[in-house]
């Protein structure tokens, strides 16, 4: 089997269901399966560190502008739909649980479990995107999308706040908030879409019985990515949605 030209770098042949009673062999550059797994994990974390920096730049921009224009940011934030945002947070946390359970299913050799939990994770990830789509739709209808048609009408009981909202500069400051909102949630959603693509590939290979308790690195690495995207949302939700909730 090892001398077959079809053997891939993980040591099993393409297109053949893997007999998991037989011992797995690591790729040729590794001594043990454990070393292979540690290398994957470290490599994935190095990638995630670049992701921390990538989102970090946006969080820094957010912090700087929010410090400069706190009132406009709070007012703009209060127009976001908190129940939908909270629902999406719960959906993502749920999907993290099902992702962890998919990996656990591999650890205990339950192949049906891997398939079910991967499908659930994908369903929850898609739900998040659909809810986000409805939220974006509302923002387009309300003319809260930065650009030529941007118009921020503040519905406030405070007379001072309502007058100030007519100030063109105040409008620009609110536009900065919505620019950051769309860039940050948009890039987060892009990560979710990429994650769904990776999950689809994993689902395909799981269906072919590629993963078991000895080898499930791709599942675990995708899990790290998926949970990281969840962490980004854990910070985005309070920073974007809950900023102006108490000003009502």
């Amino acid at each position: 089997m090892a001398s077959s030209p079809l053997v891939n770098r993980y040591g099993h042949e393409h297109g053949e269901p893997v007999d998991h009673r037989e011992h797995r062999h690591p790729a040729h550059q590794f001594d043990t399966m454990e070393q292979q797994k540690e290398s994957s994990t470290l490599g994935m974390w190095l990638f995630l560190v670049t992701e921390i920096m990538f989102f970090g730049g946006l969080f820094t921009a957010y912090l700087v502008y929010r410090t400069m224009y706190p009132a406009a940011f709070a007012a703009a934030s209060s127009t976001l739909n908190v129940p939908l945002g909270a629902l999406n947070t719960a959906v993502l946390i749920c999907s993290s649980l099902t992702m962890a359970m998919a990996i656990r299913s591999a650890q205990v050799n339950r192949r049906g479990g891997i398939l079910v939990f991967l499908l659930l994770t994908m369903a929850l990830g898609s739900t998040f995107l659909v809810v986000k789509g409805f939220e974006y739709h509302d923002k387009f209808v309300e003319h809260h999308v930065p650009g030529p048609s941007f118009n921020f009408v503040l519905e406030s009981s405070h007379e001072i706040a309502a007058t100030r909202a007519q100030d063109p500069l105040y409008q620009r400051h609110a536009e900065i908030f919505f620019s950051l909102y769309f860039i940050m949630t948009g890039i987060h959603a892009t990560h979710m879409i990429i994650g769904l693509g990776i999950l689809a590939v994993l689902l395909f290979y799981s269906g072919r019985g590629k993963f078991d308790s000895e080898y499930y690195n791709p599942l675990e690495m995708t899990g790290l990515y998926w949970h990281f995207v969840d962490i980004v949302w854990i910070f985005l939700f309070p920073l974007l949605y809950l900023l102006g909730a108490h000003t009502h």
């Binding site: 540690e38 470290l42 974390w45 190095l46 820094t60 946390i93 749920c94 359970m101 939700f237 108490h246």
Partner: protein, 102 residues
Amino acid sequence: MSEHYVAPVSLYVKVFVALLIGTGLTVAASYFNFGVFNNFIAMTIAVIKASLVLFFFMDLRHSTRMTILTAAAGFFWLVLMLCMIMMDYWSRNAIVLPVPGK
């Protein structure tokens, strides 16, 4: 050790419930006006939630020291970036230079 460790389902469910409670608390706290503490409360809960995901779902607690160091370095540099930049913006207008001749 980490090779054969399998977390019990109940642990994952507990972490999941803790994360949901954290979300509820964040939303509830945001409707009260605690002044400057609103940010502090929201970010404290977010950091606790993120830590739960990092240590239990991402299994950092069973990762090698090298991996933990790598992850910690990422967050450390993020905090460094935020602090350095905010030091500049917060202090930018704090110093009023004397005008010559006045």
